[in-house]
Symmetry: C2
Subunit: 129 residues, 2 copies
């Protein structure tokens, strides 16, 4: 299971790191300078997530969005405890720096907490209606 460095992987990582919002597979494809196949991008994202390099967030429409992790993540310790905000109009999904409180529930063991805030972003706020 050794890991190899390819142009496609580099490209995807560059795109993710040069964006401050989370991106869908489509958006990543569009932004790639060296074109890659859609399937390859999906597979790269899957591996990156497994390695703790990116976070995967599910948007309100059920689509996946990806963002590069901060320094505090690796394969063994995924600290995906930050919240996300998605605009209901333009669908842009971004990380939000808020402290998440892990709720204590008795019924089950909670591994992970995803908080998705939604509303209208600055850009879309004025254009409603």
């Amino acid at each position: 299971m050794e890991k190899r460095n390819t142009k496609q992987k580099q490209g995807v990582m560059e795109v993710l790191q040069s964006n401050d919002v989370a991106l869908s597979a489509d958006e990543i494809l569009e932004q790639l300078s060296t074109k890659a196949n859609r399937v390859t991008v999906y597979r790269i994202l899957e591996r990156f997530e497994k390695e703790g390099l990116v976070h995967k967030v599910i948007g309100l429409e059920g689509k996946s969005y990806y963002a590069s992790c901060g320094e505090h993540c690796d394969e063994h310790d995924h600290q995906d405890m930050h919240a996300h905000f998605q605009c209901k109009k333009c669908k842009t999904l971004e990380c939000v720096d808020v402290e998440i409180v892990r709720p204590r529930i008795s019924q089950h063991h909670v591994d992970e907490v995803q908080v998705l805030l939604s509303g209208y972003c600055q850009n879309c706020k004025g254009e409603i209606g």
Copy 2:
């Protein structure tokens, strides 16, 4: 835009109300006593959500799950402020009675807060590996 009462609508509502977990369109179809078309079920759920009768929650896999609302919701005031827990193995998604704190973020106006907890439920906890 008057609203009509049909066997299919009644059926879907009965299924939702007799379950204490949120259900996918598929699960609803399976549980319907009077069979209905898949598309019809999707349309009914869409209308129910618009009327404030059901909540729609997006699971970790990007699928939609539906649960009947409590008394505190109507068409104008959707109070979907409770959290949900989804099991990573069996995918069962249930409502959890925890108080949600609406985080204060400066950048955007937040209308809605979705909290999705995940881990392994009581049933699946023992069966891992």
